[in-house]
Symmetry: C2
Subunit: 157 residues, 2 copies
């Protein structure tokens, strides 16, 4: 756990970095965000005093989020390894957080078609086990919209 000072605008973590850290904000304000293929920024989280800011990805995988300082900030930085050593079965929860993080980013940055394609990739078997209207409800679109997306995709092939 190392204490550091970050001037407003400092980039603490880049999307794609492997050794993503955990940032405990003592003072100031951090933000984590991603940039989609269209170049659009989506803020995932603000981290004011006493918040924990981190990319919820598994240790030793490339992370998804940029993290920078919105105000001059004082922050405590830890590695995930450090934290996992203290509490090993955090791992399952971390994976859960990752799933939710992906979902939030998807909801903010993807249209109906992209969401559906992502869903099929992530849960290949579920599509056969539930009525399509439930898939639509999970994706945040109407059954009608999903029907049209599926029609369009089947044409393309």
């Amino acid at each position: 756990m190392k204490k550091i000072n970050a001037k407003k605008g400092t980039l603490l973590q880049q999307k794609g970095e492997i050794s993503s850290k955990v940032y405990l904000v003592e003072n100031g304000l951090l933000r984590s965000y991603t940039i989609d293929e269209k170049g659009k920024e989506h803020i995932y989280m603000f981290g004011p005093e006493n918040w924990l800011v981190a990319d919820n990805c598994e240790p030793n995988t490339p992370c998804q989020l940029f993290i920078d300082a919105v105000e001059d900030s004082i922050i405590n930085v830890a590695t995930k390894e450090e934290l996992l050593k203290e509490d090993p079965d955090l791992n399952a929860l971390l994976r859960r957080l990752e799933t939710m993080q992906n979902r939030i980013i998807m909801l903010m940055s993807s249209n109906a078609k992209e969401r559906y394609e992502h869903f099929v990739k992530t849960y290949p078997n579920i599509t056969q086990r539930v009525p399509l209207k439930m898939v639509a409800s999970y994706l945040g679109i109407t059954p009608e919209a999903l029907s049209r997306v599926r029609h369009e995709l089947s044409q393309k092939k």
Copy 2:
């Protein structure tokens, strides 16, 4: 940890219940969902084999989600108290999961105005500390749309 059998369609948990449980799916398929004010259903999560399904609310607060069985299922049920006894500092993570759950539900069920009002309530001070375009980026809307929402809200008062 009690093992139970749930026929397709069985409702395991109602929105508003206090003692929400944790469900580990051994076999079958669960789903958790909420119903918004317009009566519309939003599926929060599917729980196939080996998934953990739960409302990520704090123990002893009314929960937000309905949970039911989409297929005939075999499930292990635990109370949150049980789990917290085993691992007390899960509490911080639970609160984090709750925040993300709220965000996902909000993204699926609310329009721009509702999201902004919710944001202001949840982070009253942040609005003053960051440019509005960052708030827009957090809410998943454009700065232009946020500007119009704010204009509309200020008229109303």
